[in-house]
Symmetry: none
Subunit: 204 residues, 4 copies
């Protein structure tokens, strides 16, 4: 019974995340959230200061988990290209699996554009942190002599572009959009991406 209090809060958070993700921030009315959560309008404002506040909380809640996933990178020293490729595959797979399990959050992160200023920059901050984590991985690999030394800022930007773009097509594309892509598993997608990551279109 006592838990229900904080359950209520969690429930409203979950419902809001799903609605924001599916219909966008503006089209999701507070009245929609409370209706879906089965509580009164006033209850929303008992738990959250405003619509803006709940959006911010949603972002911050999952940020740590997401960064955690990516920070697992190429931590240990790897000797061969094959090992690094393998590690990269695992990393991307983790990333895609996290995204699948946190579909709504990732959609908010990637496409959740039109929101209050504050939410917008919270989103941007999170994405920047993600990109920085990748950059660290790349720099590490260069230090280990596995990757050729190039501008790691550009390289992480390229990498993030790939990940974000493919994620978007994989999970958030309208039905007929990328059918072939959407049927892949996280593992397959990761493999495909890693192949391109290291060898480009020309491949080996």
């Amino acid at each position: 019974m006592q838990e229900q209090a904080s359950d209520r809060r969690e429930q409203i958070l979950a419902v809001a995340l799903e609605l924001f993700s599916n219909h966008g921030y503006h089209k999701t009315k507070v009245s929609d959230i409370v209706k879906a959560a089965g509580v009164a309008q006033g209850t929303f404002y008992w738990y959250f200061k405003s619509k803006e506040a709940i959006a911010l909380e949603i972002i911050h809640n999952k940020e740590a988990d997401l960064i955690e996933v990516v920070s697992q990178g190429y931590r240990e020293s790897k000797a061969t290209v094959q090992e690094v490729v393998k590690a990269s595959e695992r990393l991307f797979e983790d990333f895609f699996e996290f995204s699948q399990q946190n579909k709504y959050f990732m959609k908010l992160l990637l496409k959740g554009m039109e929101t209050e200023e504050s939410v917008q920059s919270a989103i941007f901050e999170t994405r920047k942190k993600l990109e920085n984590a990748f950059q660290k991985n790349i720099e590490r690999a260069a230090e280990l002599g596995i990757l050729p030394r190039k501008d790691p800022v550009i390289q992480s930007a390229l990498l993030m572009s790939l990940l974000e773009g493919m994620l978007e097509r994989w999970l958030f594309s309208p039905q007929q959009g990328h059918a072939r892509l959407q049927s892949r598993t996280a593992e397959e997608l990761a493999k495909e991406l890693v192949q391109f990551e290291f060898f480009g279109l020309l491949g080996i």
Copy 2:
């Protein structure tokens, strides 16, 4: 006189595009548009059925131009890898230059904003057409034996991801976000991208 009428129309379109792009669809009120255009509120509705309608028109207006740019691809048969790389560079440069000149439109297209269903799918359609154009190019290259035969759907998705992601970081990132990237010219950016496109992180 008649021209002036259609000038009015164009002006409202231009103003609306800029506002949509800079502040988003919802935060841009019809009253903002007319204020910026220097016309009366009612005038807007003489030229456009609704806010939704003007957004749709904006999308459709530039679509053809954009596709045109990309369709220039690897039209003529190219023999060597170097030639194809060169052609790709030129193509990307054109794309980035178009994007620079049509910054507001491209932002609308990429960040998609939170809009009415109809606008959203117009945006999606345009992006799909763009991706298809790239896919054609890739298929052509495979037929000519320049690129190894792989799934062209995946490959064009990867390519578009790169282009979109880098474009976003180049033109639409908040100030300090990607300073190093933002100072590049379209040409430099295209080169960097092509390098990765063909050879991946490992490069040559």
Copy 3:
């Protein structure tokens, strides 16, 4: 027809003043105002930025008129006490008549306490100006040797207290409150007050 535009505005102002005065600022809802004015809710916000704004405008509108009335004071030099008494009577009569004609405004001024900060200080400012005008009159009279020299700040405060208190009882007391007082005319009231003003309870 064209006048009707500004008539609308005036009408809403008048209605709002009456409602504020009769039921107070908080109990008067914007919906009450528009209902009484026979316009749509949105129309209110076409003419006024907010409920606070209309209250402020109401105060500022009449301020000048009110000060004007009181500034007529003992302008010309008067020789005898009788003449000054006469002048004072006329002044007070004018003040009471103005108050009768601007009953709602005066009530707002005297009793319109619980409002937004800004309105509150607008009210206070107006009352202070009024008191200052009386102070000027008193100082003038002292210079002319008609009144004994005492602290004019205190004296104007005493005078204003009398005027405000009697006005409140005369115009704004509940029915049975001060029946005897309420039946007086502005002239009679002014006489009574002047008598006390100059000679106190002991009278002559």
Copy 4:
């Protein structure tokens, strides 16, 4: 233990009075009161039926004390004008001292605030009783031949106006409003007022 319960009640009453007085009835939320009193929202409703009820109780609580102060008037027969003046001075001083010690209550009484109908008339009743007490004093003085016989209703109204107006300026004026006045003691203020009360502006 039982005392603590009623202590709670008293504490809530005290806190509510202060908040009502300082910020007004409407701007004081029940949640403000309970927060300041350090109790839960529900607790308020255990002790008081409603916000309106607590306001009413506040008024009634102090009414008797206030009337008591004023009823001390010119009870014993006084022979000379000087004695009456002295007595009046003491009376006013008592009144101002009571007001100083019950600042919040007096503010509620004088500035009346915008409240529910019922509270408003409770306030009015109290003020009427006060005025009646003064009226009794004046009538008594007339019977004793100390004051000239005039309309005692008017005279008590004039007296109350003076007392209320000066009290308001003395205790409740915004900072710079009546600095000179606000620095006076209750005794000084009473003297000033009595001087005017008996002799008017012309004085002796």
